[in-house]
């Protein structure tokens, strides 16, 4: 169904084929995903919407290479993630995907700069270069002056900006954001969205963003609704804006 909707500038970067995931705990079987087929193109900004328990997070984990599907496949740039060894998965997570979490997940005992350079250390970048690149990234998110601060000394918005800089550390092809603005107030949330839009437009980053935030509608290219482990609807932004009323109804 997604084949009909194509993006202007891209080839496929994420493709899922009949993706299914069962969680079995004792005798209780939970079907988190019941067959998801999606194609996402390079340079796209996708909003992933759905109520809690809809399978949104499960979908996220599959795409991010953080969990393996029960059946079906996930291709990232035509590489089958399920075929990768643990060491190759680490490589994928380190260089190809940037993660942004709702609760920032910065390493508490490292400074802003050290947090940003940690993925570079894992990638084997030498310390001097990592430092230069880290400072550039902090400048990009507007925190150049605060590079020596620890997370505990920063506000939520600042921490999330450090997290964005960190996710960009190894020039990934894909940013996965899990409710990036959920813990932030309106104003700082808007700043974060602004940075994400800037990365999408100026750096041509592909961004997949799970969210409940209405403002995401203004900046994303496409929206994907997930409900009960299935894709409920996929739509381009211009299509959605016409039907804003019904969106509001769905989100409630």
């Amino acid at each position: 169904m997604s084949m009909t909707i194509t993006s202007a500038n891209g080839r496929v970067i994420i493709r899922t084929v009949n993706l299914k995931k069962l969680y079995v705990k004792k005798d209780v079987v939970t079907e988190a995903l019941r067959g998801v087929d999606v194609e996402i193109f390079t340079g796209e900004f996708i909003s992933l919407m759905g109520p809690s328990g809809s399978g949104k997070s499960t979908f996220f984990n599959m795409v991010g290479g953080l969990d393996s599907p029960t059946s079906g496949r996930v291709f990232i740039d035509e590489v089958d993630v399920a075929q990768l060894t643990a060491v190759e998965l680490a490589f994928l997570r380190c260089r190809k995907i940037g993660y942004i979490f709702q609760s920032y997940n910065l390493i508490q005992y490292l400074t802003a700069l050290e947090n940003v350079t940690t993925p570079m250390a894992f990638a084997g970048v030498d310390a001097d270069e990592a430092r230069t690149r880290g400072m550039e990234l902090l400048a990009l998110v507007g925190l150049k002056e605060r590079w020596f601060h620890r997370p505990i000394e920063m506000s939520g918005g600042q921490q999330q900006r450090v997290a964005i800089a960190r996710s960009m550390a190894n020039r990934p092809s894909l940013l996965l954001c899990d409710e990036p603005t959920a813990n932030l107030d309106l104003k700082t949330g808007r700043e974060i969205l602004e940075i994400l839009r800037m990365l999408n437009q100026e750096r041509n980053m592909t961004i997949l963003c799970a969210t409940h935030d209405h403002r995401m509608l203004d900046i994303c290219d496409r929206l994907i609704w997930i409900r009960d482990g299935r894709i409920e609807r996929i739509a381009r932004r211009d299509q959605v804006q016409i039907e804003v009323g019904s969106i509001g109804g769905e989100k409630a």
Binding site: L66, E78, L84, E88, L92
Partner: protein, 488 residues
Amino acid sequence: MKQIEIKDQPPLGIGRTVSLTLTGIRYRLFRSLVTVGVVAVAMAFLMNVWSESLVRGAVLRATTLRAAQLHQAFVWATKLTNPGTPDSILTGMAAPHPEAVDEAMSMAKLPPGDRLFLESRCRQATGYLRFFAALDYGARRQLLRQAQGTAIFDGLQSASAQADFFAKAKEMQSLQLPGGDETFQKFLREWPGVKEKLECIRAARAAAIAQLQPSLRGHTAMETLAGADGAFGAAIRAAGFRFPEDMARTVAEQARQACDSQWLEAGLLRPTVRQAVAGRLDLTLNEVNPLVLWEFLKSREAAGWYLDRLKEANVSVAGLTPERLMALAHVQTEEMMLAQLLPLEAGTEEGETGIQERMLWLILVSMVVCAVGIANAMLMSVTERFREIATLKCLGALDSTIMGMCVIEATVLGVTGGAAGALAGTLLGVGRMSAAFGGIAVRTLPTGPLALAMAGSVLVGIALAAVAALYPSFKAARLAPMEAMRVE
């Protein structure tokens, strides 16, 4: 944008892993200190047990040596009046004192060629006697009936007794004669020859004692030994005993001390003296005993006062000065202290393995406590941080890097805790032993073994920490990175 190429992720360099870990430890200083505390307490316990047993061992060795030196006069007094029994001679020959064997060989005029044979058979014999003594009562009674000591070998000379013995020995499944049955049979065949030589030595000793009899001139051996550094010493040597000059001087001095002490203690038997001492010390008459007396005589003033009381009671005190009394008092109190320590030593002798086993057991328990403590602390630290660990995995950390971080952390904590605990345990152990044994513990402090034990226990601490961290670090490394994705 270029196509994704997937390669193997390189591991994080050791230097960077260490610095990342150290930064973490510094940040969680309090919790790390608690872990260090757990390790330190366990290592302190280990080191305390260890150092106390080392100090105790050193004290006992020193005590035994000192006691043996102090009792030379008594040993010689016995030796010059009693030729001994085949059993005591056998024990003397088997002991590692070449001079005693020399003396026996030359006194009994045995050919030097017999020496090796005699020594080896005597050692073999004491080995068998020790083996039989260690048997439980029922088994011994069945095998040997009532026989004790060398009489056992005498009783087994007849062919029928031997056949009976080996038949019974065979029935006792767990019984294993040292060296096997054939060796014992061979030994039994040689025993009459050995016994003949032992009797020969005994007879020679009896003759030597008889030769000395005129020199005693009706005095006791101890009184005569007071002159052992003079003519009597020469007489002893002439009789064939090995009695070198320096030994003679020691024995003479000790004999004089023993005689004087006897005199002084005998003074207490005079009612007037006893009453005076009781009055002076504010004790009842019954409470006045040599122990109290020697403690009292340690001061010059008290010694002088006691001599005056003896003079008043018409006890001959010729040649005794207050200084002499004080010196005697010190020797006597030391001897009494040694007498109190010696039962300890008897304990080691009797149950040598008993004490060792108990110590090993204590050490083992403390190690288990230590390992569990560290494992628990590490498990807590891992559980507490699993969001951090999962995040690191999202950022590209390998399982091995996470494990490495955990093991490095445990090792750092193990080194710190081990060193602190070893030091504290040693100080505590040495302090306790000094309090118990006084100056003798400090004088005989086994610094070398203690330092080795400390180094050992630090190593043990590191090893334990590393082993105890294995499971938690394995758990941490296997943690799914999606844990980090989960909303709080």
